[in-house]
Symmetry: C2
Subunit: 415 residues, 2 copies
């Protein structure tokens, strides 16, 4: 059978053939996968790379345990936020010195929103989208509360952007991929539109970094934030990354002016002087144990071709969407390839117990209130065949009604 | 020989006797110590507890690797910032629900300073001390820059507090123990004085938490920040902790309003509603790998009597100070026990190469520009005898002039 990697498979046989020809197949051995399961939640928490425990162990036992404070120089701890940022840069189309690893998405967004409002004096509105991941909206509220007349305006949908892009808008913040629906926005077109209105653009890359090729430079994006614990597999709640276009480096002022953003942190001066470049977005230093997880996973990402990831991602999501639609399920994720990321959301009134029944069968997705089943597709460690089988499992769970069992309705603190 | 634990030993024999009678001696086996050295830098980076690698391994391989997202419920990840905060609380004299683990000292101080300025409308001054650890001063600059008329005023010394405590002062932030000199401030008296002036008090506990008993409740402290990677041994750049007195919980507003400070983070609401209690100081979630280091070390701290730690600390620092003074060295740290923390600073014009020569002999202290040698004393893993021997090593390095060797003048990125 000849294999076209751009084809969406419509049979298990086709899936087996695609797996046999998969140029990314070798990456699967890099990951620790559930013994009897298919993990479709890499968009929430990426799985553990096989190499990570040893990198963490070395960091704990050798660097911390044996070399102690000498590790700042001996193991170049001091440069890690920059060096790891430079390794993330090619994954998001940034240049060297434009990405730094620090803090969390929320804290980094706080810095960027404040910096953006200061770069547009006289403008006082931060524009977001009501359906964005809530922490972005909450942080926008927190930041605008610090500016006289500041306000955070939430669009009902990104499609309403034109109507709200007036001359009070200092900055627009949007997620490139919607965390619930998986909808992918047109970064180039939206950024250009925002710039024409005189505002700055911040992209949240949490659900796109590592899931598809991104070109922040070509899109002339001003700022971006992203996490490393979803598609990038750096570990639960691993540090975030922050992008700032080089053209802004000399003029930005962010308020979280911790000592690692100082021009000479080890001179211990009493007065603040920001360093040059992306370093002025640092605050304090990330946990070295947390950074170990990022160091380990980037050894894999250094070798990944994101165009291949994107092609396989579209095939996997396309396959899943087609199978769901064939059963009459309501797929919330756009069918057009250019409009979706690497996840699929299915609406069902009993989404919660259905997801639990699927998990019992070894197909691990997640639930988002009130009625969405959400499935993430990670081309480096999923095969076409298991995605096919996962779609069949969903079919069987619904057809059998097994999700009605009482045990599937029990909710934990985190749903 | 009879042993008085309050005595400062003046001979090696006395040290041996004190070690034999040391009620904290058993803790030493809990720590991984340099094979042929004496680590006097636990005030910068605490050593690795023996139990930590296994706790980290379990977190990485079992919780992340095997249980993945189910760990949020199965291993109660979701409550960790609160549960770990409640275990730190007795170490600082706080009540249950008054301490939370999150972010870094710098980020937490930013939250508290902003909250304090909002609690004192009409007042616009943040008062600090010029010799405080710089990140506190830089953050105070960053925060006051966000308030109309806000200003950060640095006292030449805490002894000048009275002269500057006017009715524009909203909040005073001070380190309980000076990071360079080791001077310990009177928390009760200063807090009371600040309150009489109508201002709020924030203490930085980085150099005191785990080094001596602290009673935030008795001192009626409003807010505090601290780190966990020095005397608490949670690992390099481990997460910080934040204390807020319960009486402020209902009225504080901090601006880093990430989703974990929301009343219902997993309801994914678009509008911000702060949770009740200490949780409103959360922003995002700390790295689970970083938290593993804290979980491990708190298993030790749960069993520690801080009064015993303080008694031994005063004996160790007293011994070191007396030996240095006997050689005519300039000891910067106060001689009176009630005025010093658990570290000793010695001024010497050639402090940098002298510290390097000491390190080559296995006595690991550190250098603080321009002319200080700094030595930290951690009673849980240091013996009286090795501190005695360390003082002798310093004596020999200076007497021999061996520090003049060229190799001791080479500086790394971090000094």
């Amino acid at each position: 059978m000849s294999v076209d990697l751009a084809t969406i498979p419509s049979s298990r046989e086709q899936c087996l053939a695609l797996d046999a020809a998969d140029p990314l197949a070798a990456f699967r051995a890099e990951y620790t996968l559930p013994a009897n399961g298919t993990y479709l939640d890499g968009n929430s928490l990426g799985v553990l790379p096989v190499r990570t425990p040893e990198v963490v162990r070395r960091t704990v036992e050798e660097e911390w345990g044996k070399d102690l404070i000498t590790s700042w120089n001996k193991h170049s701890w001091i440069d890690l936020p920059y060096r790891l940022g430079d390794r993330i840069a090619p994954l998001v189309g940034a240049g060297a010195g434009e990405v730094v690893v620090c803090d969390s998405v929320s804290v980094n967004l706080f810095k960027l929103l404040t910096a953006a409002l200061r770069l547009r004096p006289g403008r006082r509105t931060v524009l977001g989208e009501r359906d964005s991941f809530p922490t972005d909206l909450y942080i926008a509220e927190g930041v605008t509360g610090l500016f006289e007349g500041g306000r955070s305006v939430l669009l009902p949908s990104v499609d309403d952007l034109d109507a709200h892009l007036d001359d009070d808008v200092a900055v627009v913040v949007l997620s490139q991929v919607d965390y619930r629906t998986g909808r992918l926005l047109d970064m180039a077109a939206i950024t250009a539109k925002v710039h024409r209105a005189g505002a700055l653009m911040i992209w949240d890359l949490c659900h796109s970094a590592g899931a598809l090729p991104i070109d922040l430079t070509a899109c002339e994006v001003d700022f971006a934030v992203g996490c490393t614990y979803k598609y990038l597999n750096a570990g639960p709640c691993a540090p975030g990354f922050l992008y700032a276009a080089a053209r802004h480096h000399d003029t930005v002022e962010q308020p979280l002016t911790g000592w690692f953003s100082h021009a000479a942190p080890f001179a211990f001066e009493s007065d603040y002087r920001p360093t040059q470049g992306i370093g002025r977005f640092l605050t304090s230093f990330p946990s070295l144990l947390a950074l170990a997880g990022l160091r380990a996973t980037l050894e894999i990402w250094d070798r990944v071709d994101l165009e291949l990831v994107r092609a396989k991602s579209l095939a996997l999501t396309g396959l899943f969407i087609e199978q769901c639609r064939a059963d009459g399920l309501e797929v919330v994720t756009p069918g057009q390839p250019e409009l979706r990321g690497s996840q699929v959301a299915v609406r069902h009134p009993e989404a919660f117990p259905v997801v639990q029944a699927l998990i019992e069968r070894g197909v691990i997705g997640d639930f988002r209130a009130p009625d969405l089943m959400r499935f993430g597709f990670t081309p480096l460690y999923l095969s076409y065949t298991e995605v096919w089988d996962a779609a069949q499992a969903l079919r069987e769970v619904l057809a059998s009604g097994e999700w009605r069992a009482e045990r599937f309705s029990v909710r934990g603190a985190v749903t």
